[in-house]
Symmetry: C2
Subunit: 265 residues, 2 copies
Amino acid sequence: MQSEQQYLQNYDPSQFEHPSVTVDILIFTVTDKKLHLLLIRRNTHPFLGKWAIPGGFLRIDESADQAAARRIREEAGVKDVHLEQLYTFSAVNRDPRTRVISIAYLATVPFGKLHYSAGTGADEAALFSIECTAGKNSSGHPESSGSKEDECLTLTGPDGEIITEASLAFDHARIIRTAVQRMRGKLDYTDLAFGFLEDPKAFSLSELRLIHEAILGHKLDIGNFRRTIKRDYEASGRITEKGLEKGAVGRPAMLYCFSQEDGPL
Amino acid sequence: MQSEQQYLQNYDPSQFEHPSVTVDILIFTVTDKKLHLLLIRRNTHPFLGKWAIPGGFLRIDESADQAAARRIREEAGVKDVHLEQLYTFSAVNRDPRTRVISIAYLATVPFGKLHYSAGTGADEAALFSIECTAGKNSSGHPESSGSKEDECLTLTGPDGEIITEASLAFDHARIIRTAVQRMRGKLDYTDLAFGFLEDPKAFSLSELRLIHEAILGHKLDIGNFRRTIKRDYEASGRITEKGLEKGAVGRPAMLYCFSQEDGPL
DNA sequence: AGAATAGTGTCTTTCAGACAATATATG
DNA sequence: CATATATTGTCTGAAAGACACTATTCT
């Protein structure tokens, strides 16, 4: 029997036909009281001219997490944002070129940190507001094509352009729906919403509530929202009062500071 | 500019160095009032002799879902069980042979349906009971190596053999922990537990409760469990009474029939 | 009767949702 | 003062958790 060292030397990775692996990033932000998603217009085949989720091939020397972080730097000029793996899409014919599986990531970016090339250049990018009247299939399979209770996805571009699912490249409509569902599901038991704050070291509860409302797609009761957030976060010390807001319309809000549990001390 | 057809013809997928893609299946079952996981002992390098999650390379003509279904047929002789994607692990050095990313799946199999080769043959397989005293990091990153609140994973083999994380191949200890966390998190808002029932068309609430207890790792209050299950499932018609159990010790239990919402109509 | 398991009832505390009322800023 | 926003308080019904009690079978 050969030793482990011999085995590793003789191992030939090309004995299997490998699929291509890409990483797609859903870059979400909240502005104008609405949830928005960054899309880019494809300037190559296939799906030339259609809008797509930014992505790129996974390099051989980086993990998917690293590729996602790299890609969001390149595409949105931002780093150190919350980034989490969403789902891996692997249907055989999802890309007409060749076999491509895509590891989708979800990023939450404060609007002020987001920098993208909105011009009509080689890689035209745009922010689309998202409306997603969700179906109730909480446990639905992300890659099955025909859910019985299909939720309706509506994307509105900066110039009021409304694009339907058919204007999206590949299976990206389904990926977007999966991401919105995921965000809604995790909203109330994770710190997801805090990733959208312009300044986590000084935010008001109203600002946080508007983020929740944008993600959920409906209004929340002001008093009840305050009560639950303060109960869940203030008692455990994850948010602390930081003094009053200045120069606003109406009564100044108390500003809070958010510190992650295993944060930078 | 070339047409789409020309583009597709000229496209060369080998211009990028592709990683290998595998699909790993965490085959869970509940027996003896405890959660169990099927592992196989590796008979090749690397990690020769260590226990590992069954898996295999993704074929070029099948989706990850299909590969997972195929693999669980091959390994556990079972089909038509609940199978869901868990997470994709892609750290650069997780496999010493070459670059391998692994799409992990989670399967819930009734013990009676599970058939594996327990013998000490070429692919020795064994069921290990799982104890996982979880840390509280609900939103922890599955692939980060050093969680502050590392939960302790203990696997016990059929002959009482206790294996620690170091006896597991690759990053499989982490994958297993991620799976247990996922199951615990989804237990009370999905139908996950029903996937372990020996006969979903005739089960008692005690049987269902034992499954919940096995997954959670602690006892549940009998009365409160009945109340919540009946409220959540009986009112919506997803479980219905089916008559009394026969020939058991103690008072015979009411048997229920579980029908999934978008079931086989 | 006694053991074993199934099922019901009750009490308390907590929480969610609806909504009213008060507080503090600007113009 | 009117307006706008922030913040607090109150009421009700639902739900969770703890725990005692009753019911039906077998030996």
